[in-house]
């Protein structure tokens, strides 16, 4: 029997507020509890979805030990109270973990193996610092397979400045400031809050508290302040804590479904998965990853950047966003790009961020029926990029 691919839609997304790693909001809160809260809230917000209809729970984490171990998709599903018949698994593609959870389960839906999946990610960088327990093969160095700088993300960002000499520290700082300003405005306008689920946090010294808003944003940021920050990865370099995302804790999740099943169950279909692409680049300049990933995708879809009305690009580093924009000839302050700001202000709990981009794009689509296509894209450690192309289900058939 010939197989027909099914349309896949993004139904809903939820995330915990993001916290600062270390002594931040979630210093004494478990990573798996963050995921559990997200899963439960997704089901609460979508009462039309019977829990037993969830065919897969795909949860990404970069460091899969401790409270992010034990096959976190499955353990979080059990802890969340999903029926035992619902399976789950763990995914890792570093920063693009949650994005990969969506593309993988989305592909499974399209293939016909699933009807509905929950896909998301978590990273508690306070409990699991980047590189925890890694044991790089000595051949990387002995055979010069990669430069040692490839393993330190800040160094790869400095390397990217080398590759794009036109991207100066001043441009990066200006971009970072705009990200902070856009997030502050989006918060003031109530754009970001609807996707947050408040999360109980515990402190042995202070008692229980409630995380209701993102902790990382610094609305007080100024260009002068940014200019004065140190460049920890290279003396007199370009990359500062101000023009990069911080170290953060948080979890995200989304309901992905076959479009016909979503309709049967009366679920929202907020955007349609059109295509996705992952691509590798030199690990030393991993920030360049979104360029080939997006190129490949646009080429396959016979589209150009002009066909794209909205771009949600992860801001691991300002330079990496600017490299992408420069490559595609898009202005640094193009209104299509991260209209509500990005990770420089909101934070980037590695494996969780991909779904944050998607929930933000879905909200933007709802406000912009004039836009048909949007991208979510991000760079990935070890030299990769990932891009997902989405179609606005609210599109009213005019313009792009």
């Amino acid at each position: 029997m010939p197989r027909t691919a099914r349309d896949v839609v993004f139904v809903d997304g939820v995330r915990t507020p993001f916290g600062k790693a270390g002594k931040g909001l979630y210093a004494e809160t478990r990573a798996d509890d963050l995921v559990v809260r997200v899963i439960r809230e997704l089901l609460r917000r979508n009462p039309g979805l019977p829990p037993e209809r969830v065919d897969e729970v795909a949860v990404a984490a970069t460091t899969q030990t401790g409270d992010q171990g034990l096959t976190i998709g499955r353990s979080a599903a059990l802890l969340a109270g999903l029926p035992r018949s619902v399976p789950g698994y763990a995914i890792d593609r570093m920063c693009a973990g949650a994005m990969t959870a969506v593309t993988t389960s989305g592909a499974g839906i399209s293939f016909g193996a699933y009807d509905v999946a929950i896909a998301g990610g978590v990273e508690h960088m306070g409990r699991h610092p980047m590189g925890e327990g890694v044991d790089p093969n000595p051949r990387f160095l002995s055979e010069k397979l990669v430069d040692p700088s490839a393993l330190v993300m800040g160094n790869t960002a400095e390397n990217l400045h080398d590759r794009y000499p036109s991207i100066t520290k001043e441009r990066a700082d200006a971009y970072a400031l705009r990200s902070q300003e856009k997030v502050a405005k989006a918060y003031a306008d109530g754009k970001l809050q609807p996707d947050l689920v408040e999360m109980l946090v515990r402190s042995a010294e202070q008692g229980y508290g409630l995380a209701s808003a993102d902790e990382p944003p610094r609305p007080e940021t100024t260009l002068e302040g940014l200019a004065g920050l140190k460049t920890p990865f290279r003396a007199h370099g370009n990359v500062t804590p101000g023009n990069s995302a911080g170290l953060n804790d948080g979890a995200t999740g989304a309901i992905i479904a076959a479009e016909d099943v979503a309709a049967d169950l009366g679920l929202d279909a907020r955007m349609r998965l059109v295509d996705f692409s992952f691509a590798g680049v030199d690990p030393e300049v991993m920030g360049e990853g979104p360029v080939p990933a997006t190129e490949r995708l646009l080429e396959r879809q016979r589209m150009t950047m002009d066909d794209i009305g909205l771009v949600e690009i992860n801001e691991a580093f300002a330079v990496q966003v600017l490299a992408f924009l420069e490559h595609f000839g898009v202005a640094d302050d193009d209104a299509r790009v991260n209209p509500w700001g990005g990770a420089i202000a909101l934070g980037h709990p590695l494996a969780s961020s991909g779904v944050r981009l998607m929930m933000q794009l879905a909200r933007l689509f709802a406000e912009r029926p004039d836009v048909r296509y949007g991208l979510t894209t991000m760079c990935v450690g070890m030299g990769m990029g990932g891009t997902v192309l989405w179609e606005n289900t609210n599109w009213e058939g005019s313009a792009k």
């Binding site: 809260r37 109980l200 008692g207 229980y208 409630l210 209701s212």
Partner: protein
Amino acid sequence: MSSTDDQGAATGAPVSREALREVFADEVVTHALSRDVQLPYGAGKAVLITLDNGHDHNKPNTFGPAGLLSLDDAIEAARARSDISAVAVTGKPFIFAVGADLSGVPQVRDREQAYAVAKLGHDVFRKLGELDVPTFAFINGAAMGGGVEVALHCRYRTVSSGIPALSLPEAFLGLVPGWGGTYLLPRLIGVEKALKIVIDNPLAQNKTIKGPEVRELGIADAMFEPADFVEESLRWAARVVKGETTVERPEVDTGQAWDQAIDNARFMLEGKLHGAAPAPARALELVAASKDRTRDEGFAAEDEALADLMMSDELTAGLYAFDLNQKRAKRPAGAPDKSLARPITKVGVVGAGLMAGQLALLFARRLDVPVVMTDLDQDRLDKGVAYVHGEVDKLLGKGRITSDKANRLKAQVSGSLSMNAFSDADFVIEAVFEKMSVKQDVFAQVEAEVAPEAVLATNTSSLSITEMASKLKHPERVVGFHFFNPVAVLPLLEIVRGERTDDAALATAFATAKQLKKTAVLCKDAPAFVVNRLLTLFMGEVLGAVEEGTEPEVADRSVAPLGLPMSPLLLLQLVGPAVALHVSETLHEAFPDRFGVSEQLRRVVESGKTEIYGPDFQIDPEVREMFAGGGRPSSEEEIRQRALEAMAREIRIMLDEGVVAEPADIDLCLITGAGWPFHLGGITPYLDRSGVSEKVNGSLFHPNGPKAV
């Protein structure tokens, strides 16, 4: 009530807050940690108070004076603010709060101090009900006593569906839930339901209820699942604050139904305790009066009751008994080092009768190893195994075990006509006819099959362990392992060391007892060990009085003022007249001057009668006939005194003989093996306080007051 009034009321009391802190010098302080939280839905800011003593759930939150004052500070700080829309209280992970800090109670020296503790609790807790903003309790984990009362003072409550236990255990220990419990609870959920929590459950082995029942009874206004309980409680609270959720509670009937419920409870209590324990009755009277009292009057009456009861002998005995169960029961005195214990991978049970079946089921359930029963008769064997399988099915039917577990248990319990099946057993227990020669033969047969170090245990209730082992090649492996009927209900296990029993066998017995979840007490190989010796003596005095001419009803009623779980003749019926006679004969043989044998009882046994009381709760006329005769009737008072004096004398002799290590072990045995009550502290605290010890022995069992460690 304003803040300054409160301060004045508390500091103006005869006993200062500082003085109270000194009384409770060892208090593990439960801190009230305040933190602002933003309520969802724009409902404003709330102060979330977390009760946390800084330890994990193994040391639950409790309230002593310092803890109360910490909560007071938190409430006062919230009261001073004008920018909050609610105050909520919750516990630390898995624990809300489990009540007053009882460890400090023995240090309370006088009624003034007791009154001050009682009043301080009220002074602090009541503020939660009298703040201008709505107050909420989020019962996230175990809540008992004062913990429940903190919640009751709040205007609203949510409960986690996962909480393992909520209770007001005060009446069980010898107190009343007097930090607002007796006043607030009946007015919240109605008197009938409140009495269940305040009186019935404490008197039913201190029963507790779980989350769903807390909601069902109306103690909590809403219930949420544990996974995100506090978050969802805060959402609910936000909707209540905004007026989007209205809390509807059924109106409490304070009319005739109230009085009727109180009368019923009073009748039940009188029948059960005969006035022996003051606390439950005091709690009942407080509940009864709550409907016509103002808050001030209700709380004041509670303060008085707490002050009285904290000074009472019954509370001292209750706390002692509680500690026995919590501490001594878990670390049996005289048990050898547990590292000497040998692992048990298979158990043999000789016999297939009812007792053998109960033992097989218990070993299979708790040890999770194969259990093989043997009998000479295939029919009896089949019946024995079928009994166990039937009990497993019952557990399955009640949902207590899964079907996989049921399959496993059934597969584990088998029968064999040959003791060959014991060849690889590490522990064999016999439950055959109580006759020395029979038991000696059985052990000889078992020894022929098992490995030299396999433990041979006997469930004998009165025969000598030493003699039973004497003909074996390895007598050092024999231990007494005496259960109490019904095995599944009574926790006591008397572990008896024979003269030749070695430490390894004994350690194995104690380790096994622990796995069986039994309370093990080490006893010397003395006739009838502890419980049967004392109960036989006690019952013997009552039967003796009957034989001398006291009406059996009068004799049976004579010890009612002690509040024992059942009357002596009812106990006789439960034990079975034949068994009782047998034990009394054994004891008479050993101690002819102190233990008699009732000829009337012998007559009852010979007649084949097993029921003393008929279904109408009257003594069976035929039995009554056999109890007739004698010309020297005694009064109830005389019989009671005589029975208690005999007990005091016998316990002193047992301690001198070294039957057990300390009076505490006697009490632990009576509490866990015979259900003797907390208000007597088992029995020795009562014998001391009633003057019997002094009169009979010239000394107290507890010269410095009862201590349970």
